[in-house]
C-alpha cells in the first residue's frame, strides 16, 4: 500500500493557526483565509504528519490512540482530505483504489472514530481589512434582500456581512428579533462580506 514515489507526508508548519477544541481541531489558513474543522481522526493523522512517519506507522499509531482498527487505506483517505485542504506541505496522492464502496466503508469507519466529516471547511472572508476573519456559518443560506432579512432566513446581510439570522426558516423569513449582530459572518459560497 505504501507509495514509494512520494515523500512522507508532512504538515505545513507556517501560515496555519491551529486551535484544539474539546473534540475537534480548528485550523485557520492565514494565506488562503480559509478555516477547517478537523474531527479527531483527521487531527490525529495531521499530528503524525512529521515527514518521517510512514503511512503504515500512522495506521498503527492511530489504531492505538483511537482504539479502533484503522488500516493504511483509511489513513490515505484522511491524508488526501488534508491535502485537499492544503494542510500538508506537498500534495499527497493515495495509491489508486477505484472501489467506491470500499471508500464509503472506510469513511463510515473513520466517522465512527471521531465525528461525521473528516475535514469540513468553514469559509471565511478575506482578512484584508485587518479584522478577525469572517466565518461562514453553515446555518446561513441564500441571500437576503438587502437590509431586510425579509425573504430568506439563515443568512447574513450580504451588503455588510454584519448580521446572522438565528431563527427558523419560514414563510415570514427572519424576524428582526432573530437578526443578530454578528460582525464576523458571511454567506457560504458568497463573495467575502
Amino acid at each position: 500500500m505504501e507509495s514509494t514515489h512520494q515523500p512522507l507526508p508532512k504538515a505545513r508548519a507556517d501560515g496555519l493557526v491551529v486551535q484544539e477544541l474539546m473534540d475537534e481541531v480548528v485550523v485557520y489558513d492565514l494565506a488562503r483565509h480559509r478555516s477547517h474543522c478537523l474531527n479527531q481522526t483527521a487531527a490525529l493523522i495531521l499530528r503524525h504528519c512529521d515527514g518521517s512517519t510512514s503511512v503504515a506507522e500512522m495506521a498503527r499509531r492511530l489504531q492505538q490512540e483511537a482504539g479502533v482498527p484503522v488500516d493504511e487505506e483509511a489513513v490515505w483517505l484522511g491524508l488526501s482530505r488534508l491535502s485537499r485542504a492544503h494542510l500538508l506541505q506537498e500534495k499527497v496522492h493515495a495509491p489508486v483504489s477505484g472501489d467506491r464502496a470500499t471508500r464509503r466503508t472506510i469513511l463510515r469507519r473513520l466517522a465512527a472514530v471521531g465525528g461525521v466529516a473528516l475535514v469540513s471547511s468553514i469559509s471565511v472572508a478575506e482578512a484584508a481589512t485587518g479584522t478577525i476573519p469572517a466565518i461562514c456559518f453553515t446555518t446561513c443560506c441564500g441571500l437576503c434582500q438587502s437590509g431586510s432579512l425579509g425573504n430568506n432566513c439563515k443568512c447574513c446581510l450580504p451588503a455588510t456581512g454584519t448580521a446572522f439570522c438565528s431563527g427558523n426558516c419560514g414563510a415570514g423569513g427572519c424576524g428582526s428579533a432573530q437578526c443578530l449582530a454578528m460582525p464576523n459572518c458571511c454567506n457560504p459560497g458568497q463573495p467575502p462580506c
Binding site: 493557526v17 474539546m22 475537534e24 480548528v26 478577525i132 446555518t139 443578530l180 449582530a181
Partner: protein, 362 residues
Amino acid sequence: MQEWNLRGSDADGGVRVGCLVSRLLTGSWREPLPPFDLTEEELTAVSTLLLDTGAAALGWRRVRPSPLIGVRAADQFREFYRSHGLQAALYERSVTRVVAHLRAVGVEPLLAKGWAIARLYPEPGLRPYGDIDLCVPPEQYATAEVALRDLEEVMCGVDLHRGVVRHWGRSAFTRMNDRSLDDLYQRSQVVPAGDTEVRILSAEDHLRLLCLHLWGHGAWRPLWLCDIAVALETLPASFDWDLFLSGDRRRSEWVISVLCLAHHLLGAQLERTPIADHAQQLPHWLVPTVLRQWGRHRRHRIPMADVPRRPSRLLKQLIVHWPNGVEATADVHAPCNDWPRLPIQLAACFVRTARYLTTTRS
C-alpha cells in the same frame, strides 16, 4: 436564584426567560458540569439571547453532554463555539504581536478583559473577543499610538487607554481611577501568552475592573457575570480582599453586589470569602432587574449625537437609551440600597442629557 421567589410584576416574561438563561449558564464554566435540566422548548427560548450576547459557546458546553445535543439550538451553539475557538487563537496571536511591538518602542502595556479573563476558562473558545484593551502610561500614549499605526497584520482592534483618566467614564480603565496607575503597574503580573509574556492586572484589580465594567453597562450581558464567576472561582490563594475592596467606597459597595449577583444567578461560590454574609442582603430590585435585562433583546444603542433628527427615530433611541436600575445607579454614583430606582433612573437621564448638551455645545 429560586429563593428570590419572583412574584407579581417581577415574574414577567422577561424575568422568566432571564431565569432560563441563568439556569442554563449556572456552573457552565465548571468541571464537572452541573446537571442539565432544561427542556428543548426552554433551550430554544433562550438560544437567540445566548447567541446575541456572546454566551452561546458556554451554552454549547452545557448542552454537549445532554440529550439535547442534536437539537437545532445546540448546532448553532456549536458553530459559535468553533468560531470563538478559532478567534481565540487569532486573538492571542494579535495580542502577542501588539505587546511585542509596543515593547520594541519602550512601552509596557497593561492588558485587561478579553484574553486576560478568557485564559481562566477551562478550555478555549468559550467566550468571544472584541478589541484588545490596553492601558499605557499617559506620557507614553503618543508613542504607543504611533507605533500601533505602523503595525500590520493584527486581526483585531486595539483600544488604547491613556492611564486611568481622572474622571468618571465608561471605558474599562477609567472605572479604576480610584487607584493610581503606578499601583496598578506595581501589583500587575506577567503571564505567558503564546511564545511571549504579557502584563495583566493583579487578580484583585482585574476582578474589581470586571465588576465595575459589568455594573456600568447595566449587567446586560450574562457572559460578563460568567467572567466574574470564573475569576471568583479561580482566585489565587494570596488574594487580598482588603486590597480588592479598597478605594472608592460606593464602588466597593457595587462590586460586592456584583459578586453576590454571580452567586445568586450563576451559582458562583462565595463561601469562605469575606463577603459571603452580604449574599443575603442584596436590594430587592437587583436580581429581577438583571434577569429582566437578560430575558430581553437589547436593541443597538446609537450615540444620541448620531441619531437622525427625526422625531420617530429620536423617540426610539430615547427608549433604547433608558437605563436600567443598575446602569442608572452607576451613572449617578448612587448607593446600591433598597430605595426605589425610578428617581435614580430619571436622575441618570437628566445627567446624560446635560452631558449631551454640554458636549454638543462645545
